[in-house]
Every structure is written in structure tokens, then in C-alpha cells.
């Protein structure tokens, strides 16, 4: 049985319905990539899994999120809180703003193991120092005493990762963990994170818009488009044989070494706005294959020769 199984969840925030029928699952020790353009609902999906949706004024109107056999929807807040940080941890998008600026780095990591593992102050500190060292940060003791503003963005994101690992969770949700960082250290952070996750056999839900990161780190991929799942498949299959035209376009957009100058292309058109989603398949205005059926009827997410895709005309 999957560690986390998200089945057909729809989300509403006020009058908007940013997510519709999101479905995927993650097995123990698996790294699942969640890709899509800005506004496709990636971060919102993370909020659903963390049970933090009510904090931004949203609610899940349909579907279920089963984690380790328990449906998180309808679980009392106090139960959710015991899961958060302890069994499901978050690595947030912006390390610059994710740490409390007036509290020492060490105390912020200690807090997690103290809270969830009941460690004493000394034991928590020892554990934090060990984690800091594992994230290949020099001089752990000095960092433990430092304040967030004294660290670079990359260092801060390592601290956020250490914080996520502090209570030995089963699942880590990483919401675009490197978008706010310099390109030069993005790969490094992803590599360290993936290594630690693999070593511990943790499951990771890696949200990104970078197909390169997906190729580097993930076992399987879910492609989101405009609040719906477009396609889900194993990493090899999705790159070799994308079933959804949107996935195909995404892969075509990855720059290649030796590519002829001027041949780098984006996907024509723009992501539709949430207040004005097109009828039928939401990708139809940008799809080169769109037919009348695509404009009338939303395709269901169906099994194809491998994986799942939501396209009326995927060949296989």
C-alpha cells in the first residue's frame, strides 16, 4: 500500500476552484516529482498534504488524502499537528523567509526534535549538530549559535532541510526547494537532499518546475496543468514516451547542449487564468492537436500503455 495516496481532491478558495481531481500516490522510499508551470496548483497540493490549507482560507471539497492508512481529511487539527513535522515534514520554497529571524538557528532545529521526539535540550542540540554536519555545513557549532541573517540562502535552505529531517519523518514535501537560490548551488542542494532522503529510505514529494531537476532526482513524475493532473508516469517512460501533449512540450523546452542557436522554444500561448479556464481540456488552446472533442469535453485521467494521462488523443 502506498504511504500517501491522494485521490481526486478538489480545492476551493473563496469562489475559486484552483485544484480539480488531483490524484497521485507515493510509496515508501520513493521520490515523486510534481511538475507544472506557476499557477498549476503545485504549492496548493503541498498545502493539502500538509493539512495547512485552512490557514490560507482554502478547503478540500472532494476526494481523500490517505497517509499511512489514515484519511487526513476530517482529522482533527490536533491529530494533524502531531503528524506535521513528525511524520510529514515541509521544506519550503523560500529559505530567506522560512526561518524566524530573531531566533538562533540551533533553537529552530532543536524545537522539532524536542517537540516530536521529546528530546532534552542537550540531546536535541546534539542531534541538530549532527544534522547540520550531515548537510555538509562547516563548523556546525558556530552555525547552531548563528542567526538566520548571518547565513547565505543556500546555507539557510540546508538548515530548513535539517529541520525537516529532525524528527525522522516518513514523508518530506519539498516545495520548489531551490527556486529562490542561485543556479550554481541549486544542483548541490538537490543532490544533498536526495542523498539524505535515499539514505534514510524516506519518501519525497518534490515540487518543481524544472524538468532537469526531475530527471536528476525523481522515480516518478506527476505533471500538473491548470489545476488538473495531465500525466503521471515513471521517470524513464515520461522522458522516452510522453503521453500528454503538454508533457511533450515541456520536455521539448529543456535546452540541450549543442542545440542550434535560436532553436530554443517555449510553449506557445500562456497558462490560462484560474478565473477563466477554458472548457474541455484545459490545454486545448495551446495544443497543436486540439480537436472539437478537446474543446467540449474534459478528458479523464486514464491508464495508457504505461502510466496515466488525461488526453483524448494520446496515441498509446
Amino acid at each position: 500500500m502506498a504511504l500517501l495516496s491522494v485521490q481526486g481532491i478538489s480545492v476551493s478558495i473563496g469562489a475559486l476552484n484552483p485544484l480539480e481531481g488531483i490524484t497521485f500516490d507515493i510509496d515508501k522510499g520513493e521520490i515523486l516529482g510534481l511538475v507544472g508551470e506557476s499557477g498549476s496548483g503545485k504549492s496548493l497540493t503541498a498545502m493539502c498534504v500538509m493539512g495547512l490549507l485552512p490557514r490560507i482560507g482554502g478547503s478540500i471539497t472532494k476526494g481523500s488524502i490517505v497517509f499511512d492508512g489514515r484519511d487526513l481529511i476530517g482529522l482533527p487539527e490536533i491529530e494533524l499537528r502531531r503528524l506535521r513535522g513528525k511524520r510529514i515534514a515541509l521544506i519550503s520554497q523560500n529559505p530567506m523567509t522560512s526561518l524566524d529571524p530573531i531566533i538562533r538557528i540551533g533553537a529552530q532545529i532543536d524545537q522539532v526534535s524536542n517537540l516530536h521526539l521529546g528530546l532534552s535540550a542537550e540531546a536535541a542540540k546534539a542531534r541538530s549538530l549532527e544534522l547540520i554536519a550531515q548537510l555538509r555545513i562547516p563548523e556546525p557549532a558556530a552555525i547552531h549559535r548563528a542567526y538566520p541573517h548571518q547565513l547565505s540562502g543556500g546555507m539557510k535552505q540546508r538548515i530548513v532541510i535539517a529541520m525537516a529531517l529532525a524528527a525522522d519523518p516518513d514523508l518530506i514535501v519539498a516545495d520548489e526547494p531551490t527556486t529562490a537560490l542561485d543556479v550554481t548551488i541549486q544542483a548541490q542542494i538537490i543532490q544533498i537532499m536526495v542523498e539524505l532522503v535515499r539514505d534514510r529510505g524516506l519518501a519525497l514529494m518534490l515540487i518543481t518546475h524544472d524538468m532537469g531537476v526531475v530527471a536528476q532526482a525523481c522515480d516518478r513524475v506527476v505533471v500538473l496543468y491548470a489545476g488538473r493532473v495531465a500525466e503521471m508516469n515513471g521517470i524513464g517512460e515520461i522522458f522516452a514516451e510522453p503521453k500528454h501533449p503538454y508533457t511533450r512540450e515541456l520536455i521539448r523546452c529543456i535546452p540541450r547542449f549543442g542545440q542550434a542557436p535560436g532553436s530554443l522554444k517555449g510553449i506557445p500561448g500562456t497558462v490560462p487564468s484560474i478565473v477563466d479556464y477554458p472548457d474541455g481540456c484545459r490545454f486545448n488552446p495551446r495544443c497543436s492537436n486540439a480537436q472539437a472533442l478537446c474543446r467540449d469535453q474534459a478528458p479523464a485521467l486514464e491508464p495508457k500503455s504505461s502510466g496515466l494521462a488525461a488526453c483524448h488523443f494520446s496515441e498509446v
Binding site: L52, G85, L90, S92, P101, L115, Y147, H149
Partner: protein
């Protein structure tokens, strides 16, 4: 931290000089002559000139300023012209009353204001928030002297719980402290509430929720702690206001204090007293700001960094 303290202290010297000059000039630009208040209506110009010479009022202004400042730095603020006593004695006599009243009012505003603001922020949009906000609105719009009169009517005249006026016993402090403090409560509560609600929207607060930290702990240990930074700033600015600006309240309750001393002397054109009292208030404001800066540096590592 110590180097920061010394730097800030040195920075106060030019401020002090500028303020002292302004005080001196303002007092001398006010029309009216203290000598006229001292002498009889039919005194001769010679008698007036002799008196002016006695108090040094015949010298050019810059000389008067230099003499006054030089003496002030050695603790000699001159003699009161009307009250005929050393100004430093008058201040020494009145300052403790203002300090006691001010300190208690400040304490009251701080404790009650932070508690009320925090409750309103934590229970945002509930009846607790609405009631607190209504009281805050009332507290920040009702003028102190009028509130003082109302409190006297209710608690001193009708109920007889506290003395109407004076400063003879400790219970005479209750109503003045309430009168001055309630305005401060409103101010502190409003700033606390807004700052907490602003902080609650920050990313790191969402991260704390994601870490599974209990909400009350997030509110008290993280959000409130951030909200106290602006509160410290307004409190430090209020120290000077409470010492000098509480004058109407001192007046209503017929209490001695720096404020009443200032007003009485101002009416009598008693220059040395006005100058001395204003200088004391200016020093109090400067020390209040310095204290605020120090507390803020102690609370916020980013402030410490900026200074060093």
C-alpha cells in the same frame, strides 16, 4: 553591545546641544518679561535694570546661553525668579512625583496594552477582538483631562474609593495612573494587535505550523515576540510624553510634578525654571529613546548587526 551603547551615548551630545539651544531661544522669544512680574507697577526703570542685572538678563543672549549651559552641565540650573529658589531644588522636588506616576502609568499601559492587543490578535474577528477594538478606539480618542474628571466623579466623588486629588498617599496615585495609562493601553494594544496580525502572515509562521508547533506557542513565543519590537519603539517615545505631557492630568488631580511646575512657571515667565524643566524633559526623552534602542538591540539580532 557595549560599543553600541557608548556610540549611542556620544551621539546624544550634539542632540543635547541642539535641544538646549532651541529651548533657550524659544523661551526668550516668548513675549513678556519676568521682571514685570517681580516689580511693583510703579517701579522705576533703574530698579528694573538692577533686577535684570541681578539675574543676568541684561547680558547679550549668546552670553546668557553660554552661562546657562555651562552652569547646567555642573548641575546648577540657576535660581527661579518668581519662586526665588534654585531651579535644581524645584526639579528635585517635583521630578519624583512625575517619575512615580510616569513609571506606574507606563507599566500599566505596557502590561494591559500588550495583553489586550495579543488577545485581540489571537482571537481575531471574534467578539473579544471587537470589544477590545471598541475600547481601544474609545481610549485613544477620549482626552486625558476629561477621562480624569470622569474617573474622579465616579471613583472619588460617587464611590469614595480614592482621594479626589493630591499626592499624600499611595491610593492618590490610582486615578492619575489610570487616566494617563488608559491612553497608553489603547496605543500599545493597537500596535501589538496590528504587529501580531502582520507577523502572523509571514512565511516563517506558516513554517512553524508545518513543524507542528502548537498554535498558542507560535503566537506567544514567536509572533508576540516580533510584535514587541514596534511596541518597544512607541513605549520609548512615550516616556518623555508621560513625564512632560501628562501636565493636564497633573493639573486635574492637583498633583505636584514636572508638568505642573512647567505650566506654572510658563505663566509667570519664570525663564530659569521653564528652561530647566524643559531641559530635564528633553534629557528624559533622549534617555527614553536610548533605552528603547538598547532594548530593541537586545531583542533583535538584526538590529545589533546593523549597529556593529
Amino acid at each position: 553591545m557595549i560599543s553600541f551603547f557608548i556610540k549611542r551615548l556620544l551621539l546624544l551630545i550634539p542632540v543635547f546641544l541642539a535641544v538646549s539651544l532651541v529651548i533657550f531661544m524659544i523661551v526668550h522669544l516668548v513675549p513678556g518679561d519676568p521682571i514685570d512680574n517681580l516689580v511693583q507697577i510703579n517701579s522705576s526703570p533703574e530698579q528694573k535694570a538692577a533686577l535684570a542685572a541681578k539675574y543676568g538678563l541684561d547680558k547679550p543672549l549668546y552670553q546668557q546661553y553660554a552661562i546657562w549651559l555651562g552652569n547646567a552641565l555642573t548641575g546648577d540650573l540657576g535660581d527661579a525668579i518668581i519662586l526665588r529658589r534654585p531651579v535644581s531644588d524645584l526639579i528635585a522636588q517635583n521630578l519624583p512625583h512625575s517619575l512615580t506616576l510616569g513609571a506606574l502609568a507606563l507599566l500599566f499601559s505596557t502590561v494591559v496594552g500588550i495583553a489586550a492587543g495579543a488577545l485581540a490578535a489571537i482571537y481575531k474577528d471574534s467578539w473579544i477582538d471587537r470589544v477590545t477594538m471598541a475600547l481601544i478606539l474609545l481610549g485613544s480618542t477620549v482626552p486625558g483631562f476629561w477621562l480624569g474628571l470622569l474617573l474622579i466623579m465616579l471613583f472619588a466623588v460617587q464611590l469614595g474609593w480614592f482621594p479626589v486629588s493630591g499626592a499624600r498617599s499611595w491610593d492618590a496615585l490610582v486615578l492619575p495612573v489610570l487616566t494617563i495609562g488608559l491612553g497608553g493601553v489603547a496605543l500599545v494594544a493597537r500596535v501589538t494587535r496590528v504587529a501580531m496580525m502582520e507577523t502572523a502572515r509571514k512565511d516563517f509562521v506558516m513554517m512553524l505550523h508545518a513543524k507542528g508547533v502548537p498554535p498558542w506557542r507560535i503566537e506567544l513565543r514567536h509572533v508576540l515576540r516580533h510584535a514587541l519590537l514596534p511596541v518597544v519603539t512607541i513605549l520609548s517615545l512615550r516616556i518623555g510624553w508621560i513625564l512632560g505631557g501628562a501636565v493636564t492630568v497633573e493639573f486635574v488631580f492637583a498633583r505636584p510634578g514636572l508638568g505642573s511646575l512647567l505650566i506654572t512657571s510658563l505663566n509667570q515667565r519664570d525663564y530659569p525654571v521653564v528652561q530647566g524643566a524643559l531641559l530635564m524633559l528633553a534629557v528624559a526623552v533622549m534617555l527614553g529613546t536610548l533605552l528603547g534602542d538598547i532594548v530593541q538591540a537586545a531583542m533583535d539580532p538584526r538590529v545589533r548587526e546593523r549597529i556593529e
